[in-house]
Symmetry: C2
Subunit: 153 residues, 2 copies
């Protein structure tokens, strides 16, 4: 699940840098370091979530279907989860409803986890793809400039 999220973000960042040109799953797979089918599967999820569009045939491939500012890490996370699945879902074991604790623990935890869920969602929603691209550029630039030799020694 974690790698799905990371790879999906990788894919989107790659597409974002392609400036509207379709990119084939084979090319993206090279960058990610995986098999093109894996990329196409993830692209399928991203497509169903409305984040990317794909074109068949020669010269086809995937491209973003929204403005960079309209795609956030929260969108990516949701695209990676089943419809209505929930990272914070209280995965009910089989609590014994004959026991006080067992009968209400799931609902109680659901409520108690609400704020944590909301906090995380807000933080993820605050990071648009533009910010991801900016971070990537920053790091590439700091490679170029020959840091770390900036310590005055």
């Amino acid at each position: 699940m974690n790698t799905r999220f990371v790879v999906a973000t990788h894919i989107l960042a790659y597409l974002a840098r392609a400036n509207g040109q379709p990119v084939s799953s084979e090319v993206v797979a090279k960058s990610v370091g995986t098999h093109p089918v894996v990329v196409r599967r993830l692209l399928g999820d991203l497509r169903r979530a409305g984040l990317v569009r794909t074109q068949l045939g020669t010269g086809g491939g995937a491209l973003l279907d929204r403005a960079l500012d309209d795609i956030t890490l929260l969108d990516v996370l949701h695209a990676m989860l089943e419809p209505e699945a929930d990272l914070f879902a209280v995965n009910n074991a089989n609590p014994n409803t004959g026991c006080d604790v067992g009968r209400v623990i799931s609902d109680s935890l659901d409520d108690l986890l609400g704020p944590a869920k909301k906090a995380m969602q807000a933080a993820l929603a605050a990071v648009p793809l533009t910010e991801v691209i900016r971070q990537i550029r920053l790091r590439l630039n700091s490679e170029d400039c020959g840091c770390p030799a900036d310590d005055g020694s």
Copy 2:
């Protein structure tokens, strides 16, 4: 992982209501709806995290090893993760370091996910076991009072 967290919290809530009396894994397992060995495995993690203590022999079992206010949902989460494992760890696939995006995406995401991680941790740290117990009591009471018939109809 999700069930591990939920079941661990269930166990702690159960122990909290036992008022310092050791509870056997068999009794807890009944409440959780699972096998005693599963409970003992989780109790092992909780023990290594310093949240519970166990007593061998007749009349033995598990009991809390901290004040109710000194155990938060964040403590539980940490106890369920490997030492130094991280729910937000950027599970590096094998990004192609010959590609601009591949070379820096992992570190970039690590930075970008930092705030989401901190936000969630803060929210979880704000929920002590006392609060879990309080929620459970609230729900048990609302069972007793015969709600929902309070709509004035």
